[in-house]
C-alpha cells in the first residue's frame, strides 16, 4: 500500500487533513477531513440579548471580525425593521475597508506569495526580500489602524451595534490616517503590477462564481446574490438556492447549490461578477493588468485580492475625506418578535446570517453560513483535478503542491467549524 502523509498544512487558519485514495494508480477519493472542533456559536447565541450578538460573533474570527459583525447587524436590523442612516452605512463600509486591507495584505504577501516564489514561509521571503515584507506589514497595519480608530482595537473591534455604532469615532483620528492611506494606495497599485509577474501554476476550473452584487457599488454589504450562471437570488431567499449539509469527515458543513453543484465564493467571484463597480483607481489597475476575465485560475485569486486592495484603499480615503458624523450614532430600537437575514462579503467570500428574535429582543434561533464552508467542496473538487499529479510526486512535493492550492483559497477552517494533514494511500479491493 502506498501511503503519503502530510503532518499539517501550514499558513491556513484551523486544523484539518487531506486524504487521497489511490487505486491502480488512479485517484478514487479525495477528502478534506476537518477535525477542528465545532465551536457552537450558533448554539450559545440563543438566549442572548440581540445587542450582544455583534461582539460575540466578532469572536468567531480574528481576521474577519467585521464581516461577522456586519452580517449579524444586517440580519437583526432586518428582523426589527430598522434602517440605518447613510452616515452609519458609510462608516460600516470604512470599517470593512480596514478589514479587507489587513486581511488581503496578510494573505497576498505573507501566506500565498511565499508559495509562488518557492519560499517555505514568509520568514524565508523576508530573508530574501525584506523590503517587500516591510511594505506588506506597513500596508496591513493601515487596515488595523482603521479598525482601531473606529472600533477601539484592531482585533475584535467593539463599537458596532444593531442600529449603528455606540459612538461616532473622532474625525481627527480618522483623518490622521490619510497620509498612510495615500501611501497604501500607491503600494496597492504596485502590488497589482507585482502580482502580474508572479509564476502561477496552470489550472483553469469552470467555476460557478457566487457573490453579492449591487449595480451602484462594489458590493460588500448590500445587494442580491448573483451567480455566474445568471441566477439572481435575494438575501432573504438565499437558503432556497444554497444549502449546507453535514458530511461525516468534517466538523464544517459543506455548501452546495440546490442542484447539488459546487460553487466558489471570494475574491475571484467578486472580481469576475462585480468588476464594473470597482472605483476608478482599481478600475485603472484592472485595465492595466489586461486580464482575460473571468479569471478561472484559483491561484490567481491573489491578483483579484491585489485589485481589491486598490479599491479599498481608494474607498477608505474617500470615506474619511467625506466623514461628517451627524445625529445619533445609532437608531433607537423597538423590540418585536421577528426574523431577519443578513449577508456581507467577508474577505474570503459571502457570509450569511439568519436570526429569529422574540418580543424582548432575545435571540431564539441562529444560522451562520461562513465562506469557507461554502468553498470546502470546491477545494476538494480542485484537489481532485490536481490529484493525478500528486500521486506521482514524492511525499514532500505532494504536500507542498496540495498546500499551495488550498492556501490560494485563504480558507478559514476556524470560521467554518473551522488544516492540513495529507494522506495518499492505495485502496485495497473489498
Amino acid at each position: 500500500m502506498k501511503t503519503i502523509e502530510v503532518p499539517a498544512l501550514a499558513r491556513v487558519e484551523g486544523e484539518g487533513g487531506l486524504y487521497i485514495g489511490v487505486k491502480d494508480n488512479q485517484v478514487v477519493e479525495i477528502r478534506l477531513d476537518i477535525y477542528e472542533p465545532p465551536r457552537f456559536f450558533e448554539g450559545f447565541l440563543v438566549g442572548r440579548f440581540l445587542q450582544e450578538v455583534p461582539d460575540i460573533t466578532a469572536r468567531i474570527c480574528g481576521i474577519c471580525p467585521v464581516a461577522y459583525q456586519m452580517s449579524s447587524v444586517a440580519a437583526l436590523e432586518k428582523a426589527l425593521g430598522v434602517e440605518v442612516t447613510p452616515q452609519v452605512y458609510a462608516l460600516r463600509r470604512l470599517m470593512y475597508c480596514g478589514e479587507y486591507i489587513e486581511s488581503h495584505a496578510l494573505h497576498i504577501y505573507l501566506l500565498q506569495a511565499p508559495d509562488l516564489l518557492g519560499q517555505p514561509s514568509a520568514l524565508d521571503l523576508a530573508a530574501i526580500a525584506p523590503d517587500v515584507v516591510r511594505n506588506a506589514l506597513r500596508m496591513k497595519k493601515i487596515g488595523n489602524e482603521i479598525l482601531k480608530a473606529i472600533g477601539g482595537r484592531s482585533v475584535h473591534p467593539v463599537n458596532a451595534c444593531v442600529g449603528g455604532f455606540y459612538r461616532w469615532p473622532d474625525a481627527s483620528s480618522l483623518k490622521a490616517l490619510l497620509t498612510e492611506l495615500e501611501w497604501g494606495l500607491e503600494a496597492a497599485k504596485e502590488t497589482v503590477r507585482w502580482s502580474l509577474i508572479l509564476p502561477y501554476p496552470d489550472l483553469e476550473i469552470d467555476y460557478e462564481f457566487v457573490a453579492i452584487h449591487h449595480p451602484e457599488e462594489y458590493a460588500v454589504m448590500h445587494g442580491d446574490v448573483f451567480s455566474s450562471t445568471g441566477k439572481k437570488t435575494s438575501v432573504a431567499d438565499y437558503e432556497m438556492r444554497y444549502f449546507e449539509e453535514h458530511v461525516e469527515r468534517s466538523n464544517a458543513l459543506h455548501g452546495h447549490t440546490a442542484n447539488g453543484g459546487t460553487y466558489l465564493v471570494g475574491p475571484l467571484a467578486r472580481l469576475n461578477l462585480n468588476n464594473a463597480q470597482l472605483l476608478p483607481a482599481a478600475q485603472a489597475a484592472l485595465q492595466g493588468a489586461k486580464l482575460d476575465l473571468p479569471l478561472r485560475n484559483p491561484y490567481k485569486s491573489l491578483i483579484a485580492r491585489a485589485i481589491e486592495l486598490v479599491n479599498f484603499y481608494e474607498e477608505a480615503i474617500q470615506l474619511i475625506e467625506n466623514y461628517l458624523p451627524e445625529g445619533p450614532a445609532h437608531a433607537a430600537l423597538t423590540f418585536k418578535a421577528g426574523e431577519g437575514t443578513g449577508m456581507s462579503e467577508a474577505p474570503r467570500g459571502l457570509l450569511y446570517h439568519r436570526y429569529k428574535i422574540d418580543e424582548q429582543g432575545m435571540v431564539r434561533f441562529v444560522k451562520i453560513v461562513p465562506p469557507t464552508a461554502q468553498n470546502l467542496p470546491r477545494i476538494e473538487a480542485d484537489l481532485l483535478v490536481l490529484a493525478p499529479k500528486l500521486v506521482d510526486m514524492q511525499q514532500d512535493q505532494a504536500t507542498i503542491t496540495a498546500e499551495h492550492l488550498v492556501r490560494s483559497y485563504d480558507p478559514c477552517i476556524s470560521c467554518a467549524t473551522h488544516f492540513l494533514k495529507l494522506r495518499v494511500e492505495n485502496v485495497r479491493d473489498g
Binding site: A8, A10, R11, V12, E13, G14, P37, R39, R59, G62, I63, L106, L110, L111, P120, S121, A122, L123, A126, A127, P130, V133, R134, L137, K140, K141, N144, R153, S154, V155, H156, C412
Partner: protein, 145 residues
C-alpha cells in the same frame, strides 16, 4: 476561550492587582491575538516583558524565561496559520527591523496543559501563576530602577 491559553492574561491582571505601584510605572497592554501587530506594540520601547502560555514538552505549569539573546536566536519551525505566534513574529521582526534589537525583550512563558475550547486554567497552570507574577515584577523592578 482555550483554557490555559489565557494564562498570560490572568498573570498580568493578577500582577496589576498585587503590584499597583509597579504597574503604574509601565505601559501595560493586553494583546488579544496580536499576531504581527505585536511588532507595532514594540515600536519605541526600550524594554518589554512578554507573558504568554506556551507549549513545551516540559511539565504543565513549568515557567520558562527567555532573555533577549535567546529570543533573538529563535528559529521557529514555521509561520503557521493566520495567527502568528510570538516566536515567529519576533523572528520576522528581528530580520526586518534593526530597531527591534535595541528593545530589551524578555518572555515569561508558562507551559500549558489544556488548550481545548473552554474557560478556566488547568490546576497545574493555575498553581504556577503566582510564581510568574513574582518573577515578572522582579524583572520589571530591575528594568525601571
Amino acid at each position: 476561550m482555550r483554557r490555559d491559553d489565557a494564562a498570560g492574561l490572568e498573570i498580568v491582571r493578577l500582577w496589576q492587582v498585587q503590584y499597583p505601584l509597579s504597574a503604574a510605572r509601565v505601559k501595560v497592554e493586553f494583546c488579544d491575538l496580536p499576531g504581527l501587530a505585536l511588532l507595532d506594540s514594540l515600536v519605541g520601547m526600550e524594554a518589554a516583558v512578554l507573558v504568554d502560555a506556551i507549549r513545551s514538552s516540559a511539565p504543565p505549569g513549568t515557567v520558562i524565561r527567555l532573555g533577549p539573546d535567546e529570543l533573538a536566536s529563535f528559529t521557529p519551525e514555521s509561520a503557521s496559520s493566520h495567527g502568528w505566534g510570538i516566536a515567529e513574529t519576533l523572528h520576522l521582526g528581528f530580520s526586518l527591523y534593526a530597531w527591534l534589537a535595541k528593545c530589551k525583550i524578555t518572555l515569561f512563558g508558562i507551559v500549558g496543559k489544556d488548550f481545548e475550547l473552554g474557560a478556566g486554567l488547568s490546576p497545574e497552570v493555575h498553581s504556577g501563576v503566582q510564581k510568574v507574577v513574582e518573577l515578572i515584577d522582579r524583572e520589571i523592578q530591575s528594568l525601571i530602577n
